[in-house]
Amino acid sequence: MSNTILLTAVVLGSVGLAAAVILYFVSQKFKVYEDPRIDIIQEALPGANCGACGFTGCRNFAEALVKADSLNGLNCPVGGATVMVDIAKILGKEVVETDSLVAVVRCQGSYEHRPRTSVYNGTRDCRIAHLLYGGETDCHYGCLGYGDCVKACKFDAMYMDEKTGLPVVIDEKCVACGACVKACPRNIIELRKKFKKDRKIYVSCVNCDRGGPARKACKVACIACNKCFNVCKFGAITINNNLAYIDSFKCTLCRKCVTECPTNAIVELNFPPRKTEEETVKETITQQ
């Protein structure tokens, strides 16, 4: 009886020992070296796995950071400059500080501004509506209003305004991951440079029709009248395809173009109220 127990213990023990020896040599032979810094960097990253950096998930980005010779072009928009500085310290490299960005919805086609000319009762999905037709209004470029961008946002930084039927970006929550930009089938959302106090000046229109039809479809459409282009001293405004565009990296927020715009297609946000020019602004509005 005791013999059997002993034999079992010896056999199992020797099998275990043999296996351990084999495993040891195999693990030595096929060892995969992984830079320990990858783990450290992954810890330092926000862990949102949003893909804003252009890599699939934070782990892949961490690997890319370790492999890269310079940190140029590698940026975590969610973590921002602080995280990138931390990572640069870990890797002992220099980091070029990039401007922070924020998503901007370039359409003001609310129910009030853009009359509905047809009713869509298909699937409430912007991509599908975009495939089918120009949309419920005569503006075939503007927001469809079925909220694909809101669904795509992983940071709760967007919501649909029920009054206007348009999406709104909450600047404090937006990390500029670009998910909404990709989700929008009409390329309405753009990542623009983030200014102090979330100040913004942009052409809130993407309609490429000529002035007449554009204005007919929407009261606040850009009609490419060139007025903003002529007033801008910094070369920030370009006009292409019947549409004005303000380059946020060249714009100095001088606000001259805003008052020039006859259709209020250029929007200024989060500025203190104008003092001396207030009356002139009112005048231009009433003139329309």
Binding site: T117, N121, G122, D125, I128, Y133, G134
Partner: protein, 444 residues
């Protein structure tokens, strides 16, 4: 035993209200709006200027590239502007606007009613004529006919199939054409047979049109080259691949074309257009359109000029009924709702259907219960519920392995789904996105 295709299919109510209405000629409207994109392929290039006087049948836009088609003026008058207008695609496209005055045709068009059955042109000349006259497939896909009549190198064609199925409910334009222009259609078929160099043709007609079958059989009078074959009623029998399978038992391989199994399929309406082009030198600038709907005062089949606004057609059928909720261009299964009644009739418009509001709104969507009805209904043997799930979640690359590109967009899955899930909407989204991705990769 009547023939049909074996896999899938549905039986929507036929509602062929206008089957007994003979074709009425609608005079040209005051203004015609002619889009330059009326066919599959690259848009035609505008060949007239503002202020030009044009005659009916005059070339106004020239084909660009291999797959493209000429466009001719559907009326005589003055080009008032070249501008954008919303067309059947739902988007603004370049259109030629013509202010109509009188109806003066090009002098080289033979307007006599005599049927000329003697084919004088050579195959090459026939194909050239189809190109010159802007003939495209009139079944709805509007693929340029001259391209289809040219057999690619290395392929062989031994059979021409004429699609007289008209499987879409409500539509009767092909049916009426076969009844009223039977002789012309038969000559048109012989012209295409000559161009293709084949000795056999089959006309496939669903069994709900017994008058058309017997009429064509009588006209053929036992001549052995063309056969008329009755088919069991089932949607989508008019699909090219389904029709070939039903008539010949041959199966077009996945990703292939009918020519891969030695067949060319043409619509009965196209056969008539080819006849008119080759024998009468008449370009394609008018077509038969069914205007129908239960609440319309006098639905009917109309011979209309391309570029006529849809509103004008509904007017001819008794005006827009008060309870209208939706107007569809094409059949109810594959057609498209119009956003605007000023949308012009194009070469591919086979019907205009007016639906009352309570019938046209989409029912509430429920969750998928995996009943697999969509799988049994799919004529291509796909799994619509799976494709929809993949598209909804954005797994477009995985849809490739599931053969989404084989989808013929017949809508049988959406029709049969008891939960009213928008299967086809998402499948179409997946298909277009995938095709775009494949194109972009091939460029890289």
């Amino acid at each position: 035993m009547l023939k049909t295709f074996p896999k899938g299919g549905v039986h929507p109510p036929e509602n062929k209200l206008t089957a007994g209405c003979s074709i009425e000629v609608l005079p040209p409207p005051e203004t015609v709006i002619v889009p330059v994109t009326q066919h599959l392929g690259s848009p035609a290039a505008v060949a007239v200027n503002k202020g030009d006087k044009v005659l009916t049948g005059q070339l106004i836009a020239r084909a660009t590239g291999y797959i493209s088609a000429n466009i001719h003026s559907p009326a005589s008058g003055t080009v008032s502007k070249i501008d954008t207008a919303t067309d059947i695609s739902g988007y603004k496209q370049t259109c030629i606007f013509i202010d109509v005055s009188g109806d003066e045709w090009m002098s080289d068009i033979d307007r006599s009613p005599d049927v000329i059955s003697d084919i004088k042109l050579t195959p090459e000349e026939i194909i050239q004529k189809c190109l010159d006259c802007g003939i495209v497939g009139l079944g709805g896909a509007t693929f340029p006919t001259h391209v289809k009549l040219k057999i690619p190198a290395g392929k062989k064609c031994n059979l021409l199939i004429i699609n007289g199925v008209e499987c879409e409910p409500w539509l009767t334009s092909d049916h009426r054409l076969m009844l009223e222009k039977g002789e012309e259609i038969i000559t048109g078929i012989r012209i295409m047979m000559k161009a293709l160099g084949v000795t056999k043709a089959i006309i496939g007609i669903e069994n709900n049109k017994p008058d058309a079958i017997s009429h064509l059989v009588r006209l053929l009078d036992g001549s052995g080259d063309i056969k008329v074959q009755g088919l069991k009623v089932k949607y989508p029998q008019g699909g090219e691949k389904q029709l070939i399978k039903a008539l010949t038992g041959r199966e077009v391989p996945s990703g292939g074309l009918p020519i891969d199994v030695g067949v060319v399929v043409q619509n009965a309406g196209t056969a008539f257009a080819v006849y008119e082009a080759v024998q009468k030198n008449k370009p394609l600038f008018e077509r038969v359109v069914t205007v129908t709907g239960k609440s319309l005062a006098k639905p009917g089949n109309f011979l209309v000029r391309i570029g006529t606004p849809v509103a004008r057609l509904i007017e001819a059928a008794g005006g827009v009924p008060g309870d209208t909720g939706k107007v569809i261009s094409g059949g109810p299964m594959m057609g498209k709702a119009l956003a605007n009644l000023q949308t012009p009739v194009v070469k591919g418009t086979s019907g205009i259907i007016v639906f009352p509001a309570e019938e046209s709104s989409r029912p509430q969507t429920g969750p998928c219960i995996r009943c697999s009805k969509c799988i049994s209904a799919c004529p291509m043997g796909l799994e619509p519920y799976l494709l929809m799930n993949l598209a909804e979640k954005g797994f477009f690359d995985k849809m490739k392995a599931e053969k989404v590109t084989d989808c013929i967009e017949c809508g049988s899955c959406s029709y049969i789904c008891p939960a009213h899930r928008p299967l086809l909407d998402y499948i179409r989204l997946g298909k277009t996105t995938l095709l775009k991705m494949m194109r972009e990769k091939s460029i890289k």
